[in-house]
Symmetry: C2
Subunit: 575 residues, 2 copies
């Protein structure tokens, strides 16, 4: 029996922090070496962070990244390191460095470049053309990158046909709801179909609107998960792959030829390390992770996304405008879980329309969380504003203008506290509101990060209940969960004055936005034509608002942001 | 001698307005027919408008576009029509319909799909693989689309080698400063190198941040411009191409074979119309357009962009916050030129820090333009806001928080007027400010469209002087041009308290943002290291503000928007 000891270094790097990322990588290389690992594997573009976007237009950025890859190489003695970086070879390449004992043995270039959804890789990269097999510790290993492994007839097929016993696939695979399970299913198929071990190493962390959920894993050729990395946390997972019982007698010098994918050339396997079976390795326990249920998975993604956006942009604390409603309550709890309650400051800004209940609910919530709450009445500023506008507004009826003034006074007050004390404002709008524009631009939409921007209202309730279920007493007061949602911008207002019931609204929105279903098909699915027309009209008319909204965490298969690029001046309606 | 009468229909269509666009196309087909044109040519994706972006993800949108292409086809009797649409053939294609006498003769699929800068065509389209030659009126014609013609070894080479005498190239070619000249130069080379007539038909109009400048043109095989369309306006240009003197004796039945680009197949030319030389055509004068000088070109682009964004999003009038400064003055004049002074409402919102001069300058300017001006003092709201915040702010020093409160009160007031009367707020920030974040988010950045977002401060002055030179008396009062720029958010403030002189700042910004020059190279170019560091740090730190800014007109080769996609959480600095 021959063993390959593989360390999966599931790191949380920061886009653009080349030096910091390289130092973190070296630290993990050292740790993997202490475990007597043969190979340590890092995620896609670990040196630059993912996605670096238009930083890739800067030639000095690419040069600095090359310097940092060399910095890692120089510190990689006595181990094999696979690490993602940007290569320059007849164009810019999304690449994996194969480093052994301080030498750059080879570089793999990503072949399948995703250019859909949130991805723009054809904007930046040229596609690779070959997928060799390397001999590491006497074992044949194929390396490829992220999207490559989603194609059954991609590099994995060539590499396994050429004798690869282990496929190492490095990733920056963005999270959406249910993605971890989908990914495990796909990887199981690949391992079984190609009769190989699959080492899947994923990035972890938040980057602007994207979450990378980690959960790196190793599958054996029967599709069993041998070992896994944590969800949503950095991790180093060391695993012994016992190769020989599965595929006998492939020797180092078998002379097997490896196809060079595009050119049709045949090359010999590239020998990386010539010793077989390092002695005296203490054995390593396998690590398996409990699958998260749907709500836990989403909640944890929101906590990680909030933590990483706030800290990676250089903030320590945040501000949340607490209305006493479900949205701001959930955001405050998420922020507190992400940053600690001492780093979350609530601001209650009641108006003449705020109910006593709302004010008290906000107070109770913040007390439960253990966070501070300031209260600032907007009444004086509001009445002064109406006086100032009276010469222009006289003779008109109270309407949206007057409602929005209140929301924008709140936006002004909370932003001034943000400016004064260097705290980031988290906005509290949910996906249902963002879809139909039920929010005040420069008012409640004012802030640096929109935590639940991709969470529909119905899911907001579920997540609140899930979070309440974690403690012995509910952190979010039950009154907040049970009262009808209201913007409280005029007397006796509820959301349902203007919008359909949220369960209907969310069903229409999911079909229209995430599945691109037409008006006709929505009617066929049984929705009321008038309601559907109204919802579609609202979605399209509010693109300008979404374009000026802060980024928020993507948890769906189509978020507002990188994923959905709609024109603002757009006369198309499907009805 | 044989003549091909070509009508270039340089139309201004609206993205998504499929029915409206089709009707406009039919109207131009009819007009071209009245001129006895053999062929009428429309721009790239004329049916859908360009760019339709993620509307292309909706299968019903593509179906509706096909229906509208057929609507045009059915109304195209007795003429050949070349029109851009979205085809479905083994994927989505950026296509040109070749319609003759009511029949769809063939469809050309764009081969070179741009996926850089403002373009994302690989997100949407599959690339075409063949570039046939058609025989129209006895003359051999090759058709291709936009980016295709920028490649000397692209379709034009194959088509001209296969005997094409005329190349028709349909475009949605976005404007930037100097682009018309650059484009003419390239087209001259193509015509001369391939010894062909080039019929270049461009879109005209504004679409979100993009301007299409028109200036369609026909070049003869010696590279002379025979005929041109207007800049920045819709136009129909009918021109006789006198082919035979240039290339003798190519008969319809010469049996020439046309290469099928990718497959290496050989096909016969596709015969479209079999009559030769329509009789009794009255002759048509040629149309040549004076080249615009740099400032005129940019100014006209800004006027078109403002007009089209406002009207295509369904607004009739706009609001401009008039500070008495150069930026808001220029924006008000542009808006007035675009929409008429009766559709531009100014709002002066002086504070305790507004100079008497600023208030009077704004009044004089609006009087010169002939637009209305409301004046609302922000003092009472400001002092009330400071009182409300006093419990939180006490013991702190006056600073950015207090400055920004004023700008956000103005944002609130002008947005409330916008909400009340249905007028779009135009913001007045220039590119220099957008670059370094010298603007208040939700304050002066609040609005629907940022007219001069891509115009550096130094160019703002030049454009103001240019506009003043058009009348017998200057529309923008000279005092506005001569006083030092100031945000007037505290006593005795000028922009240069915080920023380098604008000529230095703009030079650094152009190099850093538009040319991706590094810190090191900027130092080598002679800029002060401290200044460069400060500017780079400001640019990078303010990405979050730009991401929440309204769209604005692109006039440079790299604007803030589609053109520059930077991460917000980004630790990279090149120093």
């Amino acid at each position: 029996m021959c063993t390959l000891r593989v360390a999966m270094a599931q790191v949380n790097v920061t886009v653009g922090d080349l030096k910091g990322n390289a130092e973190k990588i070296v630290q993990y290389v050292n740790e993997a070496r202490e475990f007597h690992s043969d190979v340590v594997v890092f995620p896609e573009l670990a040196i630059t962070g993912y996605p670096p976007e238009d930083l890739l237009m800067k030639s000095h950025f690419i040069q600095d990244n090359l310097d940092m890859m060399n910095y890692v190489r120089e510190r990689s003695n006595d181990i094999t390191v696979i690490v993602g970086f940007v290569d320059l070879l007849d164009g810019t390449r999304n690449a994996a460095a194969i480093i052994h004992d301080g030498n750059l043995v080879d570089v793999y270039h990503k072949i399948h470049l995703p250019n859909y959804g949130v991805f723009d890789e054809k904007r930046y990269f040229k596609s690779g053309k070959s997928c060799p097999v390397y001999v590491v510790n006497g074992i044949k290993v194929g390396i490829n990158i992220c999207e490559d492994i989603w194609y059954p007839d991609g590099p994995i097929l060539f590499q396994s046909k050429a004798g690869a016993e282990v496929i190492i696939n490095i990733n920056g695979s963005p999270y959406h709801q249910g993605k971890p399970r989908l990914r495990k299913q796909m990887l199981t198929e690949r391992a079984v179909d190609n009769e190989v071990f699959v080492v899947y190493v994923n990035l972890v962390g938040g980057q602007d609107e994207l979450i990378f959920d980690g959960n790196s894993m190793i599958l054996d050729p029967r599709g069993n998960v041998l070992s896994e990395g944590e969800y949503f946390h950095e991790d180093l997972v060391v695993t012994d792959l016992n190769i020989r019982p599965l595929r006998e007698s492939v020797t180092e010098d078998s002379g097997i030829v490896i196809p060079d994918l595009a050119r049709g050339n045949q090359t010999n396997a590239i020998h990386i390390s010539h010793y077989v079976c390092k002695p005296n390795k203490p054995s390593i326990p396998e690590k398996l992770i409990r699958e998260k249920d749907g709500l836990e998975e989403i909640y944890d993604a929101l906590v990680l996304g909030t933590h990483d956006y706030v800290t990676k942009t250089g903030f320590q604390g945040v501000l949340v405008a607490m209305s006493g409603g479900i949205d701001s309550s959930l955001v405050a709890v998420i922020a507190s879980d992400a940053l600690g309650p001492e780093n979350v400051l609530g601001v209650s800004m009641p108006s003449r329309f705020s109910s006593e209940g709302s004010i008290l609910d906000a107070q109770e919530l913040t007390k439960n969380i253990g966070m501070e709450l300031h209260t600032l009445s907007i009444e004086d500023i509001f009445s002064t504003s109406l006086e100032i506008l009276d010469p222009i507004f006289q003779g008109t009826e109270w309407g949206v203008a007057e409602e929005n003034i209140q929301a924008r006074i709140r936006g002004n007050l909370i932003m001034s506290i943000s400016n004064k004390f260097g705290l980031m404002v988290l906005t509290t709008g949910n996906k249902s509101e963002m879809s139909v524009g039920y929010a005040t631009i420069y008012g409640d939409m004012a802030g640096g990060f929109a935590v639940i921007k991709d969470v529909p209202k119905t899911l907001v309730y579920q997540l609140a209940k899930y979070r309440n279920s974690l403690g012995s007493t509910p952190v979010i007061p039950p009154a907040i969960l049970s009262k009808p949602p209201s913007a409280e911008l005029k007397a006796n207002q509820t959301d349902q004055d203007n919008l359909p019931e949220y369960d209907i609204l969310d069903s229409i929105l999911k079909a229209y936005i995430e599945e691109d279903v037409s008006y006709e098909e929505l009617i066929q699915r049984g929705f009321n034509p008038g309601t559907v027309k109204k919802v579609i009209a609202l979605v399209e008319a509010n693109e300008y608002k979404r374009r000026q909204s802060p980024p928020g965490i993507r948890i769906s298969q189509r978020n507002f942001g990188r994923d959905r690029r709609m024109p603002i001046a757009n006369a198309y309606r499907s009805f």
